[in-house]
Symmetry: C2
Subunit: 317 residues, 2 copies
Amino acid sequence: MTVAMIGTWRMAYEGLTEGLNQLKAGGHSGDAIETAIKMVEDYPFFKSVGYGGLPNAEGLVEMDSAFMDGDSFAVGAVAGIKDIKNPISVARHLSNHHFNSFLVGAGATEYAVLNGFEVKGMLTERAKKIWQKRKVEIQTKNLSPYDGHDTVGMVSLDAQGSMSVGTSTSGLFMKKPGRTGDSALVGDGFYCDSEIGGAAATGLGEDIMKGCLCYEIVRLMGTGLTPQQACDQAVYPFVEKLKKRYGKAGEFSLIALDKAGNWGVATNVEFTFAAGDGEHGAKIMMATPGEAGTTKIEPITPAWLAAYEKRIKAPID
Amino acid sequence: MTVAMIGTWRMAYEGLTEGLNQLKAGGHSGDAIETAIKMVEDYPFFKSVGYGGLPNAEGLVEMDSAFMDGDSFAVGAVAGIKDIKNPISVARHLSNHHFNSFLVGAGATEYAVLNGFEVKGMLTERAKKIWQKRKVEIQTKNLSPYDGHDTVGMVSLDAQGSMSVGTSTSGLFMKKPGRTGDSALVGDGFYCDSEIGGAAATGLGEDIMKGCLCYEIVRLMGTGLTPQQACDQAVYPFVEKLKKRYGKAGEFSLIALDKAGNWGVATNVEFTFAAGDGEHGAKIMMATPGEAGTTKIEPITPAWLAAYEKRIKAPID
């Protein structure tokens, strides 16, 4: 059986490559997810996940993460966890419990500490500088403070046909303390059923959760749609519905993988992602909204990648 | 146009009656929900919601609540909020914000305090005694600590055709600090679309969230099913699927109301609820699992009501 993985944003690539290697060597879909997302959490230059993630309005890094096992529907999640190196590992650990599998705030942090998860100051000097600069900009230019909310979400399929999904994020930059989005919410930010497929979301959590989009994508795949058809049909009509009913719609980007290893993506913004399977290694691609409720997918250009690399490491003045 | 409301458990009755009166007088569906749920939160003898709610393992009352406007899909939610008299009012207030509309833990409590919501010690002497007694039982009899998790969830329809849903709970008795269930999670513990209908859940949140059941019930009503058909088709097959895939299933009770004021219920336990419309006042009924994936609904007996009244006020020895 084929193995496959898909992950949100350029930042998923290195972890996804390593996860795919584990899957090719016979590893479990859940291990691949945890390995891959930990790598994203650990890399200091990804500013919306784990170490180096941008802080809340008070300057503190609060993180959300979830894990779902597509065989059993077991879910573990944390929201507003602080000072823990790998929220995805806490979320996965919690998925082994029938009770108390979703912990928020100080309770989540205390649980992680009591259970031996590595404690780490998650605010980098770089993130602190970006936060300080932004605070001044907001005050002097009367800007909306909210910008930047990129969750890493990944779906994996292993050689035994088991599927898993995981998410991790430091959430909306400059959020109010305690704010959580869709990333820890089952059906909203992620969903997985090994007999069908899995999905994960990134974008403005407050709007994504209004549509329960990950559950809907998996449900549509279960009716026989391809992951691409399911993403297109779930996401674009809902974005239009939200504009009509709510008056506006934030950024939405969704990924999906089915049990055969086929993937799909839908987005209302410029959205990079990584995907690969046992035959073809991981690749970074660019998705943009296409015509008539479709998605345009292109290879990423070396120029884009070089500019990205430069941007994430650019000095903060 | 007709007005209607449905709410989970016997405890919904008085609030629902008041909410229904507001709706009959031309009130908004959201106001009716807030009024009704506040009454449940305020009543000290309901031991799973608001004041008098049973505490977590540390003896602290942590509450979850959510509100959804079925016209706009606007959602507000809090999880793990403490010392606030009416979590439903905080949730509804948050639903007016495009960003930071779901707050957890200390951030939720601080937000409520800063915005003038009434602060109140939510642990009653009675709840404290029940907690102390339970702690001893757990230690001496080696019991599973987790028992009791009744969310009040209500759906309302007003004369303008607007629908709203709200939930409020102190969560699983003896939960770990920070534990949250389905009640604050969109699609899992509640969902509402005024063009279709709304749904709310009560039971073991950790299992309800695995199925995204409120979204699914609303979706099924949108395909033309009655609320009763939608509840039956969403809930019973999922309970079976969960037993097969997860190995067990906790308690599930779901309610739904459609835009015409028809309601439905599904449950895998003995489940009381209240419902009424503009023509017929609120009534308390009893639902139990029927044959072949159906639900049996009967009037509540005076004997049951009398025993309930006695039970919730019985001295704690």
